[in-house]
Subunit: 135 residues, 2 copies
DNA sequence: GGAAATTGGTACAAAATTAAATCAATTCAA
DNA sequence: TTGAATTGATTTAATTTTGTACCAATTTCC
């Protein structure tokens, strides 16, 4: 059995993810959202503070600032000062934001689902389980 | 059993890859290379033409032009007109380029290998096999 | 053959992203 | 307490990335 090179797996995986996202980017853009904005929006419920978003998405803080500002301007997000800690801005997804997130993720699911379709249900579950262990 | 949401898997996977690469980016930079340049360089042997690189890496052509120019200036790459088709520029990795690629990929392997270490050898092989089916 | 369409690559200008510096609020340590 | 250090977020300026338009070489199709 050939030795497994982690960089090889990483790159394989990376190219796969990028090709999928490049494929749906135009459709997501049609929702009035760019892909990075969708990623941010999709994580807000779980991570309602910019600093948390920056950490989980591995993005610089100023980048998050920019996306949040745009998402707010688009009416997908609301910002309010956190009463516990006045440095923090607690983010809230608006109903419109929730709707557009669902649509965007549906597009991504459709596209990536087409690839996943090459795997059996059991293999898909296995993949998810492996990735969760790595995360 | 819970229904598998492809977008969920995609995002999990994306955050994982980004966090790994963000972790090694400084070390790769210390080699005089940024991460995207490393990805380009690592694919040149397999895809020696800019247009091919753009396709496999899902990057716009002008982006490849920029990276190739920098890699050439750094002495990691050589460019020559293809004798078969004078529109194409065939790329060649130089010995210095080969060396720096190996170092960069080693860093990536080390970082991602640390994550993969959470999996058994059999699981790692399974992961690779699943990803190959998807690619 | 030779126009029309396609393909590979680049230049330039515009847009996106980020590093560095900054400010304000909180926490820590004495 | 209080002042030093840390943390959350933003601004500004610089760098990176990319869309658009373009040129040159090749291919297609009449």
């Amino acid at each position: 059995m050939s030795r497994i090179d982690p960089a090889k797996i990483w790159s394989l995986n990376y190219n796969l993810l990028m090709s999928v996202i490049a494929g749906v980017a135009p459709d997501i853009a049609a929702l009035g959202l760019d892909t990075k904005e969708l990623f941010v929006l999709a994580q807000v419920e779980e991570h309602p503070y910019p600093a948390e978003l920056a950490a989980t998405l591995s993005m610089p803080k100023p980048t998050i600032t920019v996306y949040v500002k745009r998402l707010e301007a688009a009416g997908f997000l609301r910002r309010e000062l956190d009463t516990e800690d006045l440095r923090r801005h607690r983010l809230q997804v608006t109903p419109a934001g929730r709707k557009v997130t669902a649509k965007g993720l549906a597009l991504l699911s459709e596209a990536f689902g087409a690839r996943l379709g090459r795997l059996s249900a059991a293999e898909q579950a296995e993949l998810r389980s492996l990735l969760e262990k790595l995360s």
